[in-house]
Amino acid sequence: MNQIDIGKWSQRDLNMLRTSSDTREIDLLTTSVRDLNATLQAFGSNTRSDEASFRVLTPNGAHAIAVGIDAPLNVEIAGHVGYYCGGMNKCASIIIDGNAGQGVGENMMSGVIHVKGDASQCAGATAHGGLLLIEGNASARCGISMKGIDIVVKGGIGHLSGFMGQTGRLVAFGDAGEALGDSIYEARIYVRGKVESLGADCIEKELRDEHRAELFALLKQADEAHKADVSEFRRYGSARKLYNFHIDNAGAY
């Protein structure tokens, strides 16, 4: 077990940790989500990234795991999680070794959330920053109302993904469902597969060199930089025709 600041920890906290060489383990069979989150939230933003690593065992689809972290912790969750895992995350790197329920990484501000499996709907909803990496597919409304996050999905994304996306980047290796980027603002969407349909005010845009560079950097973060050809992606964004209401556009709604 690592040397840790015992002052931060109660005896109960210490009891729930299993000993390992580098990582502290917390088993949700014997520890509540409340105690887990309280433990993770006790670390401040001045924590060193190598100071604390956690492995969460037996998540069993529990909701609100690892929400509200405000420190560069490393948290690995060994299994499937329920709603809002990693919600409002700041700085932490969270790995979900399974599937994620609704709203994974919702409103995250920074840090990385890496879903090894599939993600349910509303992944990365309203998130302001950081990287959400999904190895499998993401369901409907991926990146809904996104406000600066980067989302990379190695599979497909469901309908209404990027809905009202304000800023940030959404990348999908697979297909996109209906109404991609509906009512999008300034978020940028890159899709390699087939797009079922585009939503209101969303258009395909030219993939220029700066976008190839941007996409390459995103793929690099997803460890795909030299495995995928950025030229195979198509770029989508706002036509900016609905930015100010005009009666002549009423048919678009």
């Binding site: 939230q41 909701h63 501000m109 809904i144 300034e186």
Partner: protein, 442 residues
Amino acid sequence: MKTIEKAWGYMPPRRSATFDEHAIAEIRRAAATGIYDIRGGGTKRKVPHFDDLLFLGASMSRYPLEGYRERCDTRVILGTRFAKKPVELAIPVTIAGMSFGALSAQAKEALGRGASLAGTSTTTGDGGMTPEERSQSKTLIYQYLPSRYGMNPDDLRKADAIEIVVGQGAKPGGGGMLLGQKISDRVAKMRSLPKGIDQRSACRHPDWTGADDLEIKILELRELTGWEKPIYLKMGASRPYYDVALAVKAGADVVVLDGMQGGTAATQDVFIEHVGIPILSAIRSAVRSLQDLGMHRKVQLIVSGGIRSGADVAKALALGADAVAIGTAALIALGDNDPRYEDDYRALGTTAGCYDDWHEGKDPAGITTQDPALSGRLDPVLAGRRLANYLRVVTLEAQTIARACGKSRLHNLEPEDLVALTVEAAAMTRIPLAGTDWIPGL
């Protein structure tokens, strides 16, 4: 007026009750512009309201308390169900959520100052929390809205309570739009959107749908804030019995119920006037819902929409509410629609007392604007004192009525202190018609 003499004599011109002056003007306006009318505020039509109730006062069977001498407690605690740190207020009159963006920074600061002086809370709005507002508000409720503009965990933790907004009385089921002319650099930055474009506030939350999801969303917010902060749930009054039951089921500590008289920053007039129900018709259903679940006074009820005076406050509490929220009245107290700006109002084609184009950002009183020249007209210190004065008067009025009914606590007011003036009000509130023991429908 030129009249035509007929063989049988004079026949005066007759206006249609259906196509009245406003209906005709609206048809002509729509035909000329091709766009519906957008405005601020709540319903302007006359609907059943607290004026349709009266207090009976003490007499042979009840003893009054001495005014100015015997104590009448006004304190209220909100959020006692699950929160470790409930909100304690000196008076049961709170300030409703209004956004920085819709309102100037000076107006938001003034609301915080006034509320703090009077011992009550104020509430953020769409667009996030400003430092001025937080620093000047002793008790600040943080609204968690569908748009999540400016939403971040740090501000959530700075708040004293969290109010999840499902809807509001002026437009249940509707979102909002902050028009481009009100998007200053600061507003644009807080909302992560370009300057000058219309900013749509979504009508439903992006990451939950329905009460089952909401229960988990509330869990997340509690986890994020260490189960310390009360979770309010605000809804527009439409189906209060079932909506309140679902709010309780989802785990809310406090329900905020907003009637159709409650104001909005900007919405279609047709929405304001035709969707939702008056607060008078919603309170008893909401209270009955809480009582049926055994949660009355355990989950607190805040009602809003057209609260103007201490009489309205007393009647709302007598019907079973724990507190009220005011928005429009608070803006008027700050200086909204002040006759001293009559020349400016006339230049805008209106008159003091009627100005409601809050979305246009040209408010002569400097409240619903982001124009520095206009917002600079509002002194937040002075306006805050005016609001505090008003809140104290409202509280004294409610205490006066409560003492007359023999109550040593505002919250001891009860339905049997009331009678209804109209059959409609009697049916809506389950209060007997004055002079009878008749309650229609029972």
